[in-house]
Symmetry: C2
Subunit: 338 residues, 2 copies
DNA sequence: ACAAATTAATCAAACGTTTGCGATGTCTTT
DNA sequence: AAAGACATCGCAAACGTTTGATTAATTTGT
């Protein structure tokens, strides 16, 4: 017995007034009398009236929906970030739809298209590893759909974004290691295509230069972030002429690979490791990185969501400034290895 | 220069045919001539026509959207499950909207209401810790919105659900410990209000009984799943008259608390620990649980999504059988402690 | 007491798409 | 050549809600 949902029309019919009056009555429009308004609300409640959202959205041309495209939801960072996004969205009565690119460029392009078809009011994006072109986002401009990038941001100027300053974080990390007495510091970086890799390298070089040390390019190796790739990268250091005593690693996942590998080789105590992400789990490891860069995923998600909602609500001034928000990252020091 | 999106009407006007023909042409309706069809498609493409989803949804009374309500997205289990749900949904051209109850009953009630207003075609739910009433779901029946529960399921008969058999998993776990020679096995269980706690206890008792051992109630303690609660629960065992040599722990998060505590007390080697969840991170620990119950979050999400899509598509027969799907959980043996 | 202002409610159009039915026109069949 | 069969397309209604323009009724100001 699926009762057809009550509509405004039906309420109007019963009350012998026009649908527009019902609509206005429910919205507390001043031009509806107090008594009529009350009658409308009473009947609406007793008939269990629920506005047909699809009709409203269609009518208004707004969806009260923001889309989120990210690489992989099951990664801790993104799951926390989207959790924050949802928390912010629901406060403003928006809903969130999301989709995963699984780090594939073509999938990402498809998803942007799909989000556009869904007529989302705005889009939050963390780009895929593979993405190096960005025209699929530009199309959204002509549809007046604002986009805010977060964490994995494109190397463009005229976009809104929220991201961590990985460069300054890396400076902190390297400085920390230098202060601890290390003089040869290795770095297992990500793929060179990633902007985040560039930032890490820049930070590394800046810290080295600042401390008047010589930069040795062979101490910075790229890595595809897989376990095998990590092992290969580590090999670079094992027989290095200036064997590093500390290693800065792209993120905690890679750090885990590296630690497992080093333990197998029984050289784990020869290295101090610093990493990124600050996974909560890290503190439970016996041979954990001695420090990890906290990138504040919840905060990033929160800020990105608020900026997007701001863009959605503000009248679109032609040449608005771009939001370029940097979340300062912190170096979290773990307990020292015994 | 936000160009208004192209509409069917506009295509019709340019081609001097009726909107209905355009609509039919784009859908390959047989009653449209091949040449006209071609003209329509060509123009649609060149004008970058995108169907207005809101209008279609409104017209059809369907949203091609499924809602997901779960306690906490940043928990590994749920992030993987919803990732699977999204993967399945997108295959069938559905989109996913989700919201978190944060384990609060009242929030859950609100969200169900909101999903209903959004006119989702179906709903996937993992209920909150606090939820013990279920009438907020029953209202969905009258709106013909199917609901499939997964993992955290209500103790009701007439609902669709997908869940793990935690009881049989616990039997496996206890049997494994017995086979290893343990004769006194402790259990740190969850809150007694949780159905999942009941299942674990039942499994524990069944395994004990099956092996003709005596059940000692003081060996099973409840715990609120916090770190302090875990420490308190562990205290029960430290001076027990039949001190257990192995402990079955509610999940891996609790296991981590316990391990940290035991390491501090330097008694970590006195216990074999078995846990639930099989977090990927566990294998990196030095003193990891010797086994963990894998609950296959991806599989559960996948099955739940497919069942829901099935329900959405099948004509709603009045008295349909309820899907009660049990995903067999497995005991994953980790490498033995050295 | 009469025009002007205020209040209360209605009308009708609009949003973009789909779909049953009816209207042409052409082609085949006997 | 008439009748049906078929192919191709248009008409118009419908989905539920919102909103600018209007009307009608009432109150106010002078």
């Amino acid at each position: 017995m699926q009762s057809k949902p009550t509509t405004i029309k039906e309420i109007a019919r019963i009350l012998n007034i026009s649908p527009s009056s019902v609509s206005r009555g429910l919205h507390d429009h001043p031009s509806i009398g107090a008594v009529t308004k009350e009658k409308i609300k009473q009947l609406a409640k007793s008939l269990n009236y629920e506005p047909n959202n699809a009709a409203i959205l269609f009518q208004k041309g707004k969806t009260y929906t923001i889309g989120v495209i990210l690489p992989e939801l099951s990664e801790y960072f993104f799951s926390v970030a989207i959790s924050a996004i949802e928390d912010e969205a629901i406060k403003k009565n928006y809903t969130v739809i999301f989709a995963q690119s699984h780090d594939h460029y073509e999938q990402e392009v498809k998803l942007v298209e799909k989000m556009k078809n869904q007529r989302v009011d705005g889009l939050l994006v963390s780009i895929s590893k593979e993405t190096s072109r960005f025209d699929h986002f530009e199309k959204l401009n002509s549809f007046n759909i604002p986009v805010v990038f977060f964490d994995r941001i494109p190397p463009l100027k005229n976009v809104h974004y929220v991201a961590c300053s990985l460069e300054s974080a890396t400076v902190k990390a390297v400085n920390y290691l230098l202060k601890k007495g290390h003089r040869s510091i290795g770095m297992i970086n990500g793929p060179s295509t990633l902007y985040a890799s560039e930032e890490r390298k820049d930070g590394y070089m800046r810290a080295i230069a600042f401390n008047r040390l010589k930069f040795d390019p062979s101490l910075v190796v790229n890595c595809d972030l897989t376990e095998q790739g990590t092992i290969d990268a580590a090999g670079q250091f094992l027989n290095h002429k200036r064997k590093p005593t500390a290693i800065v690693v792209f993120n905690d996942y890679v750090a885990l690979f590296l630690i497992r590998h080093f333990k197998k080789l029984n050289v784990i105590n020869d290295y101090d490791i610093v990493s990124y992400s600050n996974l909560p789990i890290i503190s439970y490891l016996d041979n954990s990185p001695i420090a990890s860069v906290e990138q504040y995923p919840y905060l990033q998600g929160q800020k990105a969501a608020n900026i997007l909602l701001d863009l959605i609500h503000s009248p679109n001034s032609e040449n608005r400034a771009y939001y370029n928000t940097i979340v300062e990252s912190d170096l979290i020091i773990n307990e020292v290895k015994e």
